[in-house]
């Protein structure tokens, strides 16, 4: 009697285990992405806000919200295994307007993308999920 | 006569599926293996491969280690599991928790446990930590003759529970009345075991022995997992030898080594078979 009950529990557990495994096999990527901080990104643009451009350095325009207080921005890296991570890059702010900061940086290049909005706090090296922006 | 023949035919039908499979996947490969052991490249060389093998030091080392392992581990496992089975049998009633925990080591896959063994047996592992606090020397389980001890321990640990269960089953088949009459004759408990129990469970002993041999060859998966392809010379077994020649594609040597190994097994088994036959007749 007791044994039958135990067997039934084991069978139920087995079925649940296999269903969970099946479910995970199909949805693990999706779930993983759901758990990651969702970020929106924009391309780094070269350009200048001032009328007399500084020709010595390349100036970049970044959305206001991408630069965090310590004069850092997060840029997107795509690793070899397909993971997307962020890394922080320090910038020097030269000027700003309603939409953009004008920055210079030795570590910023025009093919990079910066994070301007995130659903969770991120730090250097975190994996993120890129949400297609409006 | 026809009835008998019909019976043979039915029996044949029952084993036919397995016979076909065995022939294709075991017997034919074995024959191919034997033929290859007589050739080097395309040339027929007779027994040269075998003779060369016996002048090969690595092979002799592997043979020695395998023999040592077989001679020590199998009887040891047999004795330990028999004693444990007697011990379990001495309880009047026992929770199935205990007997079922005995089988757990067989159930857990090898690969999962390798890390645990490393933590336990490493030079700085738990066992050596304990020895160190007791002010003994460090035992290098991975690079000294204690490697063999470790492998034997793992082997006994892993298959002991299974053998215990086989033995308890055998013990359960011994009629209680036999014990009682022996006790009336004035036998003490040691005599009870040697005179009543052991003769009664000879078929079980044979079966356990067979299982132990089969499993003693499977322990090499653990050896590979712990030591890799080239373990130290204390645990370099025939399987390692065969396996390494397999990777080197030294096929003549591989096949002749395999044939020798199987001859070795056949002899051991034949002895045991004859032994069993004798005993079951005398019963």
């Amino acid at each position: 009697m007791k044994q039958d009950k135990f067997k039934r529990i084991v069978i139920k557990f087995g079925i649940v285990f296999f269903i969970v495994m099946l479910f995970l096999t199909y949805f693990s990527k999706t779930i993983d992405n759901l758990l990651l901080p969702k970020v929106k990104i924009s391309d780094v643009m070269t350009g200048s806000l001032s009328e007399y451009p500084d020709t010595m350095h390349t100036h970049y325009l970044l959305p206001l919200s991408s630069v965090i207080s310590s004069e850092e921005v997060y840029v997107i890296n795509t690793l070899e295994n397909g993971d997307i991570t962020v890394s922080s890059v320090s910038v020097n702010i030269c000027g700003s307007d309603d939409l953009y900061y004008e920055v210079t940086s030795d570590f910023l290049f025009s093919d990079m993308q910066v994070v301007y909005m995130t659903s969770k706090e991120i730090s250097d090296g975190d994996r993120v999920y890129i949400e297609e922006g409006e | 006569m026809t009835r008998k023949r019909k019976d043979y035919f039915t029996a044949f039908l029952f084993i036919l599926p397995s016979l076909i499979g065995i022939a294709i996947f075991y017997i034919v490969p074995y024959i191919i293996c034997f033929i290859k052991s007589l050739y080097i490249g395309q040339n027929f060389v007779g027994l040269t491969n075998y003779i060369q093998l016996f002048s090969n030091n690595t092979f002799l080392l592997a043979l020695k280690n395998t023999a040592v392992f077989t001679v020590i581990a199998i009887p040891l496992l047999m004795v330990i599991s028999f004693l444990l089975a007697l011990f379990l049998n001495s309880f009047e009633k026992i929770s199935s928790f205990f007997s079922s925990s005995f089988l757990i080591p067989v159930v857990v896959p090898i690969a999962s446990l390798i890390c645990v063994w490393q933590v336990v047996f490493d030079d700085y592992g738990a066992v050596n930590g304990l020895l160190n606090t007791l002010e003994f020397y460090t035992v290098e389980f991975f690079s000294s003759e204690f490697s063999m001890v470790m492998i034997i321990f793992i082997y006994v640990w892993k298959y002991c529970g299974f053998c215990v269960i086989l033995f308890t089953a055998g013990l359960a088949n011994v009629p209680k009345s036999l014990y009682e009459s022996a006790r009336l004759d004035g036998a003490n408990s040691f005599q009870l075991v040697t005179k009543v129990t052991i003769p009664m469970i000879t078929p079980t002993v044979f079966f356990v022995f067979l299982m132990e041999i089969i499993y003693s060859f499977k322990i090499f998966r653990e050896v590979f997992a712990l030591f890799g392809d080239y373990p130290n010379e204390n645990v370099y077994f025939l399987q390692n030898f065969i396996n390494n020649n397999y990777y080197n594609l030294n096929y003549p040597r591989l096949s002749s080594a395999s044939i020798i190994l199987s001859l070795f097994i056949i002899i051991v088994l034949l002895v045991f078979f004859i032994f069993e036959r004798k005993h079951s007749v005398s019963e």
């Binding site: 087995g14 | 599926p17 499979g21 089969i214 060859f217 097994i265």
Partner: protein, 274 residues
């Protein structure tokens, strides 16, 4: 008093058997930094078998299940390889074991002896010839390359013959006199009585094939077909962080079968003749 000592001894033995498994499960809840510290053998500290995670963490499981879907796919490869083998072996070997244990035919014992010898042969002996045969049958890079040889292993015959032997001849004789065919005897009398033997075989055969390592490496070119066991043996070189969680995932199916049938296994070899 004597009883207490006996029970303490029993508990001790049980602990020895259970310890590595419990330890592994405990480790699977440790954070990966604690694991890599524990498996770093070069730092000159003695390891103690710490069963209590410093910090309860599901990090390893998260890594296995969500970050590395390839492990999940390998898990299904293992299932595809193992389940048909187990079913096939149980069917084939119960038929043959019945013949070897209860029917009479010429060369019976000699044939059985040959089976045992073949069973004990090391795997490496047959790997290359089998490769040639499978190549001729056009089965390489097909899961059948592992399933078929596994199905016909003589192990099951050996095991089931032992449990069928315990069934008294008289019940078979009686059925014969009633005019039952051997096949009917097999399904009606033999099979119900060796249920526990079948469970044991299922478990042992499952474990054997679940752990398969050598054959896939040789028969499959494509590493996406590799079962989980191969990943398990390679994981030790690369991913310490998830090794225990992977191990736990790896052993769950075996444990399920075991817990389903463990009572039967205990009884397996002592059923009858009481």
């Amino acid at each position: 008093m004597k009883k207490i000592i006996k029970y303490i001894f029993l508990l001790l033995i049980t602990a020895i058997f259970l310890f590595p498994v419990v330890f592994m499960i405990a480790c699977s809840f440790m954070s990966s930094s604690q694991i890599s510290e524990m498996l770093d053998f070069a730092n000159g500290e003695y390891k103690n078998l710490n069963m209590i995670p410093e910090m309860f963490s599901l990090e390893q499981f998260y890594q296995v299940f969500f970050r590395r879907p390839e492990y999940l796919l390998k898990f299904w490869n293992s299932v595809i390889v193992t389940f048909p083998t187990v079913i096939g072996q149980v069917v084939v070997s119960s038929l043959a074991a019945f013949a070897f244990a209860k029917l009479k035919f010429p060369f019976r014992d000699k044939l059985f002896f040959a089976y045992i010898v073949l069973l004990i042969l090391p795997l490496q002996v047959t790997l290359v010839p089998n490769y040639i045969i499978l190549d001729n049958m056009d089965l390489l890079n097909n899961f059948l390359a592992i399933i078929l040889p596994g199905t016909f292993s003589a192990f099951g015959i050996c095991l089931l013959r032992q449990s069928i032997k315990y069934i008294p001849d008289s019940s078979i004789e009686a059925a014969r006199i009633d005019g039952a065919s051997y096949f009917k005897i097999f399904t009606r009398i033999i099979l119900p009585q060796i249920k526990s033997g079948l469970v044991t075989l299922t478990l042992l055969c499952f474990i054997d094939n679940w752990n398969v390592v050598e054959q896939p490496l040789i028969y499959f070119d494509n590493s996406t077909m590799y079962p989980l066991s191969i990943m398990m043996s390679e994981i030790g070189n690369s991913d310490y962080g998830i090794i225990f969680a992977c191990g736990v995932m790896f052993m769950i199916p075996a444990l399920i079968i075991y817990f389903y049938g463990h009572r039967d296994i205990d009884l397996s070899f002592s059923d009858s003749e009481k």
